[in-house]
């Protein structure tokens, strides 16, 4: 079991059904959505390593109680984002979702997963994305579950030839929240970009990892994670760039910025870079620090209180990513509700 996660703090309800998902804008040409089942999954076995911990992926594989197989036909551009709204509540406090997204060549789609509401419960899921030749796929994963939730998300992304995957994680909820996104760039010219944010307050514990494997020539990746920590929140960020031999002219970059808002926070970053190929460009950077005092002073001299000024500056860091959420109602709720409420108490 992964040592970084405080397993003893995790409470899990007894196994039960989950029936509270809402899907929006699925009635578009070129999409087919089916409930996941063993018949579908037998076509998607993989030997690729991914996930936070094998125990967690195994649990979903064996006991999933929700999830969809989403298929986009070849050459189709899906105009409106498809939204999977996984709602948690008292009856639906155990969610084990298994989602498979298969995007056929040269099609375009945006899929939003919004895990929200509830107070207390357990969520563990797998999301598989297969982006085929020349496709463009945008995935947004929003985690704004209740304060006593434990949340785990295991993602495996396979990027095809000249395909583009844009990925965003927005992490603001749950008590313990961990995700792993493992990305395989095994075909020439594949590209993966992650722009993600997190906001940890009180005693929230986050564990976030991106593992990007460059196998093929001319593949590119960029991981940009920004976040803020307040109270006694703790965040761990693992960012692996792994450039294998043969990935000539690969480009990889990785960036993490953490704003530390209280003395009692804890921030751990391990931005590792493995390189077995010379003809590449790879770099990573990480920074951590307080809000700039001069900027705070300036904003306050314009009539804002300290709390408001802090909120403004945290928003300045988080908003560029939140603005990428393609679905207006959720974006508004996050901007006005979640972030404001958590920074100003």
């Amino acid at each position: 079991m992964l040592k970084r996660i405080p397993w003893e703090e995790i409470q899990k309800p007894a196994y039960k059904e989950y029936n509270a998902v809402e899907i929006k804008d699925v009635e578009q040409e070129g999409i087919s959505v089916e409930r996941i089942d063993a018949n579908i999954l037998k076509n998607f076995t993989t030997d690729k390593a991914y996930g936070i911990d094998p125990k967690l992926t195994e649990e979903v594989e064996k006991h999933y109680n929700a999830g969809f197989y989403i298929k986009i036909s070849s050459g189709k551009e899906i105009k409106k984002p498809v939204v999977f709204d996984y709602i948690a509540n008292l009856q639906n406090d155990l969610l084990l979702d298994y989602n498979v997204i298969e995007v056929e060549p040269y099609s375009k789609v945006t899929v939003v997963f919004d895990y929200n509401s509830g107070e207390k419960g357990f969520k563990n899921g797998i999301t598989r994305l297969i982006a085929k030749e020349g496709s463009t796929v945008n995935i947004v994963k929003i985690q704004r579950l209740g304060d006593d939730f434990s949340d785990f998300d295991n993602c495996l992304v396979e990027v095809g030839e000249k395909a583009t995957v844009n990925w965003s994680n927005v992490v603001i909820g749950a008590h313990i929240s961990a995700f792993d996104v493992s990305v395989y760039l095994s075909e020439e010219g594949g590209s993966f970009t992650a722009k993600s944010v997190f906001l940890g307050v009180d005693s929230q514990k986050y564990d976030m990892s991106y593992k990007v494997y460059h196998y093929a020539p001319k593949t590119t990746s960029s991981v940009d994670l920004k976040g803020a920590l307040k109270g006694s929140a703790k965040a761990t960020f693992i960012g692996n760039i792994d450039i294998k031999k043969g990935a000539k002219k690969a480009k990889a970059e990785e960036n993490e910025t953490v704003l530390l808002l209280d003395k009692t926070v804890r921030s751990i970053a391990i931005p590792a870079l493995y390189c077995a190929e010379e003809d590449v460009q790879a770099n990573h950077s990480a920074s951590a620090g307080q809000l700039d005092e001069n900027k705070l002073y300036y904003v306050m001299s314009r009539g804002f209180s300290l709390e408001e000024a802090r909120l403004l500056m945290v928003q300045a860091v988080l908003n560029p990513v939140i603005d990428l959420i393609p679905y207006d109602p959720i974006r508004e709720i996050i901007l006005r509700g979640h972030i404001g409420r958590r920074i100003i108490k």
Binding site: L260, K263, R266, A269, I270, P271, E278, Q290
Partner: protein, 467 residues
Amino acid sequence: MRKEEIREIDFSIYNIKDEVEYEFQTGKGLSKEVVLEISEQKGEPSWMREFRLKALEIYEKMPMPTWGVDLSQLDINSIVAYIRPSARKKTSWEEVPEEIRRTFERLGIPEAEKKALAGVGAQYDSEVIYHNMKESLARQGVIFEDMDTALKKYPDIIREYFMTKNVLPTDHKFAALHAAVWSGGTFVYVPEGVKVEVPLQAYFRMNAPGSGQFEHTLIIADRGSEVHFIEGCSAPLYSVSNLHAGCVELFIKEGARIIYSTIENWSKNTYNLNTKRAIVEKDGMVEWISGSFGSKKTMLYPASVLVGKGAKAEYTSITFAAKGQHLDTGAKMIHLAPYTSSKILAKSISKDGGISTYRGLLKVGPEAEGVKAAVTCEGLMLDDISKSDTIPVIDIENDNVDIGHEAKVGRISEEQIYYLMSRGLNEEDARAMIVRGFVEPIAKALPLEYAVEMNRLIKLELEGAIG
């Protein structure tokens, strides 16, 4: 397209094996008897004997590390832990037996002593065979002794500081091994306010095949003092493995400063599993300068524990991993007090299938407010069969910090070559200039004589070939 070839370091002068008679050596392997025998041979006080035995117990209980380099080929049971040449320690090179003196002359040590050093210690296998310091320093109260002599002359200081509050035998398996079988090394004490203007040097030479060298270096810089210590290491190449598991403990009192430079050039059959740590008090400063060129496998992460307000640490290193080498090095910066600062600049070159790994830790404790820390790692790959890995860990436990980390890996870019060639250089010279520029921050940090020595050592010969 022209292809450059960067030759490996010319090892020939380091490779000359001496026919030296050994007066005493323990058998291969490690046991209570071996440890007792070392202690007996050295005529040590009983507390040191007990300390060694206890460490041996710890060593036996601890598992081999499973991370870092592959240690499966290292067979401790085939290593001779203690091997003493038939020479006794001298204070004049004339008295050192000829074969051993010749070795050190080839390495340029007596020459350097005359020109640029305040004191020199030379260790041959397990024992120090030469030790000398300028008289002016002795008059100021500076102590520069080999460790075994220091144990006899200053037992109280050694007992207080020797692996009791800095590196502990329980830290890891090779620290325990070191504590059990240590031999030789250096003890330096610089009294309050004394600034040692010219560097002190220790040179460690392993000559016997299949042996281990476990020297212990202990430096105490009292309040407001300054000292620059240089260590050099080399060994001839054998087909059997040698093991180097030294230990360096630095104590830097208020306002004091130690510069610790290492030019490591062990032969490529050596496992270099070394431990180095500095404890830095208020306004003190430690500067690690390190060039790692040799050894088969290295695991070395000099640590700076900043316990006093305003303490500073710097780590500047160059690692050159060629064929068959895996050099896993980095620095640990542990900030435990307010307004402490640290800076890491780690550079590496990999070629011919060599693996260079930067593995580091930057830790800021809850009390360490106002910390500033910067980490920069740069890897230069000279071909596509080598590897360059960077694994930094940044762990922060309070908000009032300013931390930055940057790393990049790549090869010599075409644009740089193009630019230099447009300025009239040929391609060969352009590449050479870029590589020299890459290692320059390290060369700059060393005293001039040593920078020249290092450049000679690297001897990065760039040779054009149409291909």
